[in-house]
């Protein structure tokens, strides 16, 4: 944990900044000042002030979107915001599980033990699911940081909770993530077959099809 991380996260203590951050992060793309202001229920000027503070702290990134109509009189490019790619974490006392997980993932890859790792992930998912017994899968996924959203009758996930590792060992980590989600569904009493790989750039590689009952 660095002081920077702590300072950046402390900014979110302010309820206006927090709701602006959530409005931008929850869209999964670029959000204009007006749109963010409306979502947070504050004026455009106040929203702009706080959004820029979040950019300064590295929680958001800003850019400019050209107006759709070109030529004279089409106005200045609009300032837009999106969630910053870098991650922040604060742990007290300090903990570092990523380094160890990265080393272990490397060993699994070297041993060619992906199938064993997937079986273990499936069981871990089942345990997690059973401990949340009867709750809807969307709620459990949200709680686990996947940021699920409705898409084509099913669910997609905006966030990969294993981001750093999924870039180092995509094949292993995405397969384990799929197994974990299938186990989770099973443990919740849902249909594990709903989870499948449907990777898209910038999102979690797992998607859930709609329930069979629908």
């Amino acid at each position: 944990m660095s002081d920077d991380d702590l300072d950046a996260l402390a900014l979110l203590h302010d309820p206006v900044r927090r709701s602006l951050y959530e409005a931008v992060a929850g869209r999964g793309g670029e959000v204009g000042r007006q749109e963010a202001a409306e979502a947070a229920g504050v004026s455009r000027t106040l929203a702009g002030h706080h959004l820029d503070k979040l950019v300064e702290a590295g929680l958001l990134e800003s850019g400019f979107r050209r107006p759709e109509r070109g030529g004279p009189g089409s106005g200045r490019p609009a300032k837009v915001y999106r969630r910053a790619a870098g991650e922040r974490s604060v742990s007290l006392p300090p903990r570092d599980y990523v380094t160890l997980a990265s080393v272990l993932a490397g060993v699994v890859d070297e041993l060619g033990a992906e199938e064993r790792a997937e079986r273990a992930a499936r069981l871990a998912g089942e345990r997690l699911g059973r401990s949340r017994g009867g709750r809807p899968v969307e709620e459990v996924l949200r709680e686990r940081g996947y940021e699920p959203y409705a898409d084509a009758g099913g669910l997609r996930m905006r966030n990969c909770p294993f981001h750093v590792l999924s870039h180092e060992q995509p094949l292993l980590v995405c397969s384990m993530n799929l197994a974990l989600c299938q186990g989770l569904l099973d443990g919740l009493g849902d249909d594990p077959g709903r989870a499948r790989l449907d990777p898209r750039p910038g999102e979690c590689c797992v998607a859930l099809s709609k329930t069979n009952g629908d």
């Binding site: 995509p170 094949l171 397969s175 790989l197 898209r200 590689c205």
Partner: protein
């Protein structure tokens, strides 16, 4: 600069065997996915007419060759790991032998240049013997095009 990429796989059986039937059936849709992927530039094809034809080469019949050029690292990474290609990759053990050596290599080429398969195989050999460097690297140990451009050999070529 553009990114050239070679990967090879050791087939478990002849391309026309029952063991490889699923794989051969997937060639057309997966190659079509590559051709339409953002940042795709070129790939080595055996035939324009037959999308299931694998590249014929002099390096052994058991060796499957994928050789392509992309605009940058991200576009190739997104195709390999963030498209329908990932699901095919997950099944690789059904069709290919596991190899301990590196089986994929990347390097930077000037835009418009299509490298030869012989050069690509030499780059892979270089990666295997000398480890990753700006002239032959992997996703795990990647180099930017500016790191490659500042090499003495590249400077020599520009004279």
């Amino acid at each position: 600069m553009h990114l050239a990429e070679l990967n090879i796989a050791h087939l478990r059986g002849p391309v026309d065997s029952a063991e490889l039937a699923d794989f051969v059936a997937l060639l057309e849709p997966i190659n079509a996915l590559a051709d339409e992927a953002p940042g795709f530039v070129w790939r080595l094809k055996e035939s324009e007419a037959d999308p299931t034809a694998t590249v014929v080469h002099d390096y052994g019949d058991h060796l499957l060759v994928n050789f392509s050029v992309w605009e940058d690292l991200d576009s190739l990474w997104n195709y390999v790991y963030r498209s329908g290609h990932l699901e095919v990759l997950r099944r690789r053990r059904e069709w290919f032998h596991r190899v301990a050596e590196p089986y994929m290599v990347m390097w930077w080429v000037p835009e418009g240049v299509i490298p030869t398969l012989a050069e690509a195989m030499a780059r892979l050999e270089r990666l295997r013997t000398e480890g990753p460097g700006p002239e032959a690297f992997t996703f795990k140990d990647s180099y930017t095009s500016s790191e490659a451009a500042s090499l003495p050999a590249a400077a020599e070529a520009r004279k």
